[in-house]
Symmetry: C2
Subunit: 339 residues, 2 copies
């Protein structure tokens, strides 16, 4: 059962006894139409249930007032809050947003790209940390559509980026640990691949250096940011037999893994080990012990990113190529004084 044929602008025009041009004007530039005419058109629209065909309109105007959001995983705990910020700002400026879940699949990225080149979307928000597959590899750099990266910066491509200040946040986090008397602080989540992890590790190093604490390489453990990686890291720590008094984890998911491992070994947390996370995902307040962490201003990140993208679309030169927002220390129960 197909839904019935919809009214077109011609139906409205016929019913109102005017030309389609007038109907179009009555809708888009009401002031340019005589009051009486406008009234007739409005009534005809109501009677026919007409709604303008966005596709025909976009084809003609060569723009859609739509923004496409490319995300590798909409289930990422950081995603949905940033999204709301993006939507809030877009909607305020008359834009709509659509989400494409790529699962990091190149084919899917290319598909969504077609969305852009058809003007079904005017701009792009990237959560992926890389250019959509199809760009950048063959010198097509020149024709990048307007886009802004979020959450994860895009290396080696001048894509504007809006995100939390990972370096600074990690520094503050580590300093908090130090201020509580910790000096043997592990870093869990070193990664060559992920820029975010790298920056957080830098912040960690900076804080230690600032406090005159030398770095013990045995306390720096690889991890990809998953809970499982956190658990594995903690186990590894015990194997290496070089124990810290506190763990600074690259993110909350990792911290959760560490807590699980420690709980399983029946340690009394946070008395025996302090754990610090980063992100403040929703679950962090529910773990036992509840997680002390750095909160990302996700909503504001979304708003700022969209604002930047819309500036780009308006042809304005953006004020800055990168906007870093401050993370906020959230003190809960997983960090305690040492010594």
């Amino acid at each position: 059962m197909q839904h019935q044929k919809l009214a077109t602008i011609e139906d409205v025009a016929a019913l109102a006894g005017v030309s389609i041009a007038t109907v179009s004007r009555a809708i888009n530039e009401p002031t340019k139409v005589a009051d009486e005419t406008r009234r007739k058109v409005t009534e005809a629209i109501a009677r026919t249930g007409y709604t303008t065909n966005a596709m025909a309109r976009s084809l003609r105007m060569r723009r859609s007032n739509m923004i496409l959001i490319l995300a590798p995983d909409v289930g990422d705990p950081n995603f949905s809050n940033i999204l709301v910020g993006l939507e809030t700002e877009a909607s305020k400026r008359g834009y709509g947003v659509l989400i494409g879940n790529t699962q990091n699949d190149p084919a899917r990225e290319t598909d969504y790209l077609r969305f852009i080149s058809s003007n079904q979307a005017d701009g792009l928000i990237l959560f992926t940390g890389h250019l959509p597959y199809g760009f950048g590899q063959d010198g097509t750099e020149g024709r990048l559509p307007p886009m802004v990266a979020v959450n994860e910066p895009v290396p080696n491509a001048d894509v504007p980026y809006v995100g939390v200040d990972n370096f600074e946040g990690a520094r503050i986090a580590t300093e908090h640990l130090i201020s509580q008397g910790h000096r043997r602080i592990a870093f869990v989540g070193r990664s060559g691949a992920r820029e975010v992890n790298r920056l957080r590790e830098e912040g960690y190093r900076k804080a230690l250096a600032g406090a005159g604490i030398s770095i013990d390489p045995r306390l720096i453990i690889d991890g990809d940011g998953t809970t499982e990686s956190g658990r594995a890291a903690a186990e590894l720590m015990f194997v290496r037999d070089a124990l810290p008094t506190a763990f600074f984890c690259v993110n909350d998911a990792t911290a959760l893994g560490v807590i699980i491992s420690l709980n399983a070994r029946h340690y009394d947390l946070p008395r025996q080990f302090s754990i610090m996370g980063f992100d403040d995902i929703s679950f962090s307040s529910f773990v036992t012990p509840s997680l002390t962490t750095m909160k990302q201003p996700r909503h504001r990140i979304g708003e700022a990113a969209m604002e930047l993208l819309l500036e780009l679309l308006a042809g304005e030169k953006p004020h800055e190529q990168q906007i870093l927002l401050r993370a906020e220390l959230i003190v809960r129960n997983s960090v305690t004084r040492f010594g």
Copy 2:
């Protein structure tokens, strides 16, 4: 900096020395074109970097091969896995999917509706539990576009539904508790508004009745399915002073709240209280004690829903109006023998 003007079918035709109709055919019905011609076209496409304008194509064909997924909250822990199932099946059949996050905002729902009536999407998957605002209220029922509900059924509208068998699942869950010797079993999450909660409560009642256990109304507590509601419910239980030996929670989020409350009161779980959830969201295996629950076959729900929708689109009469998939009991550590 706008990205450069893209090649159109005319550019390709000119370069290949053929008509645009031939180019179109070479792309869409390659067999109807001479080998040599096809070769020339293919090469011209490669040289120009042409990619067909999906919008123009859809406008002309009156269909887009796109499915719009309307979700009130993409952060819902059940969402992303079902989504992957939807995408898998759609992609297998040559369809793409796009996600619209509605936040339950009527305005937003109406906006996305326009997407359908412009043929930018051919069908709809509803996570919202209700028809998009704009439908159904004024007898416009007749022109509902093809759609399938998922996760949450749509009451009072014949929208096909694919989901877990909540009634049956809840019955199994409760019977598991009974089989462990529990007879005073609380139900947390009664809701007049949410169909899913209602069905799960029914399953609970059925299981008790089947075991000849009479229902104590003081053990049935309201809740909207949030963690906070679970916490509040547990607290209320203590105020009422009618304690159960086990809690069957309407979902995992609620169960988590109950566990938090019980942990905070320093009960030894699961020795003193057993807790059973429903859904098996990712966090359930991380809580302490890890949660015994009913697992929703989310991936398969997504696949089945998309399959059904595509049947509808193909004009086929669907075999069934409702597909209920079985939930699976996942035994972890939050339920233990009583007595």
